[in-house]
Symmetry: C2
Subunit: 409 residues, 2 copies
């Protein structure tokens, strides 16, 4: 499906970014024929000895076998190298014992082909749920993948993990600390079944920083909460979603205490998270929902997600209709503390409602002008306290229906 | 909008039912020109002295002025008659002090026109949120409405309260208790912004039973939890929704202890709730989601709503695709206790998944045959306990988007 969908109108201009090669990281991609025809669907990443790996995973109670396997392996100390093997087209989720065995088969074959211990091979699968993974098609490609490993292969890797994505997603930053240059580069996939509660997508981020596993894990968890856990396309949470961050240490520069490194990592995560929203299935507008004045940050987040997940708000935005009544509705249903008569709402800079009714002098034409752009912002002040939250989403169009009513056929 | 939408394919065959006249209840409807052209938009119901009234209301924190007014009046003892005044086209919600004054103006004018105390005039408004209600257009029609009161006017009343509904909704039952015949008849509106947490719609039910307010309220609350609170179209909860049940006592037959009456009332509520789902915006299929084997009833309900509200499940149903992987996903994201390896899933009678993977001998063609019908059932057994829940919803089609991206224009 991915290869016949037109590219999202919200895709970054200029295409896939020019990312720096990360010392200690090599990529390969191939077409294993798992489901798609005429495109790549497996990526292999090889990581140098000494790499530390952190990760966060879906909170789904029905998470797939690869996720459970990664969770078991994360945090186990090792000086060995590591590998990521990721396929698209099949999620290997809800596949019972066969699913567990498929993960083992892929990890073992990758270990054999790369010389990396099986306990350091992390696999992910994304695509259709509930169908057995034809893992032999993956293992059959591993020797050739190893032969093809290339430190400049990140763009090809990003393409191989796409499902209904319409463009490959990559982001990078470099940071200078005490005269040393550290690079961070990441890729991600995701366009449907995207909702918070960790990383409802796949993302892999690489850096040559030297950093302890504990420290990396805590940086990743904190940044995840402000990036991947702040996006929603359709409120549906995947069974498979995975973020892995690998620090090769090849720069030799320790980054455990660097706020500049933490910021660069968070920026890459934020960039990838926004790109996932920009590729939201059927999306025609990027929507920023900001909530201020809530009793607590948690209330603010609850209100922001109620707005961002409301089909009526999302369809109004698709229709370029400044229908702020639906925003009021979403605030009301969120369950968070709210006082109708203290509420104010803006579309862009246009104050549409204030103190429980339409704002004096409000002109719908001005709000409609804002709605007609590609970037729409909905800001709600609850007038109660200092809690704030920002969430990113996209509009809900008939293309979402077309894509999802016909995904498997 | 309502008058140009084609009638839902799920509308009851035979049109609006032939409902019994309820002694003590008279109806009138008129076109006040609140928003719609060329159709009725106000209904008046007159209830005889001695009528007891029960009600349940939206749980929204941003509920409209008419809802707050009704909530204040419900349960106040009175032997006087009562009146319901309901308009469509404007919800009089998030309209500040003007909204409160509009309710008072309509209630006072109705009291003057009918001779019923203002404290016994219940008003509802449904339609666009956030625009001032032109209440003078309603009050201007009241004298004519009173003149037109007719005990056979229930069908016209049902039409006057429609918004994006494509058919008027009515249901009735008669019950014989100790040789006495008691009638129950109700009407409802609703097709979008429909989600549980009470009655996200308007519904008015009438009976000639004699019953105390306390008892009626407890019957209504209990039945509501099993009927109107078990439906969802789009997970969006309205600011305005209201169920009022009026027992005129005109039969002279006391029903406080009658389980037959309680059952008839619940049946009417269930019938109306299902009709609202059948008129779900853009609906092409009626979907029954049944969950069994949950740890608790509350968990079962949480899983059932996670499935019924999932855009990915609903679009798969629209596409007649037995994509049970999305059902697994919805179970996983629900937050309820679940064990992937005990889960089984059926579409209709077809067992598609069992014990955490595809069922032995499962043929997708059989499940697809079930999906191609107008009535689709999704049954999930969690294999954990004895908790059960059933929820009704509809599929999500591109017509939902078309209706809602363009509602105000």
């Amino acid at each position: 499906m991915a290869d016949i969908l037109p590219v999202s109108p919200l895709a970054p201009e200029g295409g896939f970014p020019d990312l720096p090669a990360i010392p200690g990281v090599r990529f390969a991609a191939t077409a294993a024929g798992i489901k798609y025809k005429g495109r790549t669907d497996v990526m292999l990443v090889e990581l140098a000895p000494g790499t530390t790996i952190a990760g966060t995973f879906t909170s789904s109670k029905t998470r797939g076998a690869p996720v459970l396997d990664c969770q078991g392996k994360i945090g186990m100390p090792s000086d060995a190298g590591a590998a990521f093997v990721v396929n698209s087209g099949n999620a290997n989720a809800f596949t019972g014992v066969a699913g567990v065995n498929a993960v083992k088969a892929v990890a073992k074959a990758a270990a054999d082909a790369t010389g990396i211990p099986e306990a350091r091979v992390f696999t992910s699968s994304t695509g259709v749920i509930g169908e057995p993974l034809p893992h032999d098609r993956i293992t059959a490609t591993l020797a050739a993948l190893v032969d093809g490993l290339d430190k400049h292969g990140i763009a090809d890797a990003a393409r191989a993990i796409m499902t209904t994505d319409t463009f490959p997603k990559g982001a990078g930053r470099t940071v200078e600390v005490d005269g040393n240059r550290i690079c961070v580069a990441g890729i991600a996939k995701g366009s449907g079944m995207i909702a918070p509660d960790m990383a409802t997508m796949l993302a892999y981020i690489f850096t040559d920083a030297r950093i302890s596993q504990d420290k990396l894990q805590s940086l990743v968890a904190a940044a995840c909460d402000e990036t991947f856990n702040r996006i929603t396309v359709d409120s549906d949470t995947s069974t498979s979603d995975t973020l892995l961050v690998a620090a090769t240490g090849a720069s030799g520069v320790g980054m455990d205490g660097s706020s500049a490194f933490a910021a660069a990592l968070a920026e890459v995560m934020d960039d990838l998270a926004r790109q996932i929203v920009c590729d939201g299935e059927g999306a025609s507008k990027f929507v920023t929902v900001s909530v201020t004045g809530a009793a607590t940050d948690s209330d603010a987040r609850q209100v922001a997600f109620a707005i961002a997940n409301s089909p009526l708000v999302k369809t109004a935005i698709a229709g370029e209709d400044p229908n702020w009544g639906r925003v009021v509705m979403a605030v009301g249903k969120s369950g968070a503390e709210a006082d109708r008569d203290r509420l104010s709402i803006r579309f862009g800079d246009v104050l549409v409602a204030k103190d429980g009714s339409v704002a004096p002098g409000y002109l719908e034409a001005e709000a409609a002008r804002h709605m007609s752009g590609e970037n729409v912002s909905v800001s709600v002040d609850l007038g109660l306290g200092v809690g704030t939250a920002t969430v990113y989403t996209c509009d809900l169009t008939s293309r979402y229906i077309a894509i999802n009513a016909d995904y498997r056929s």
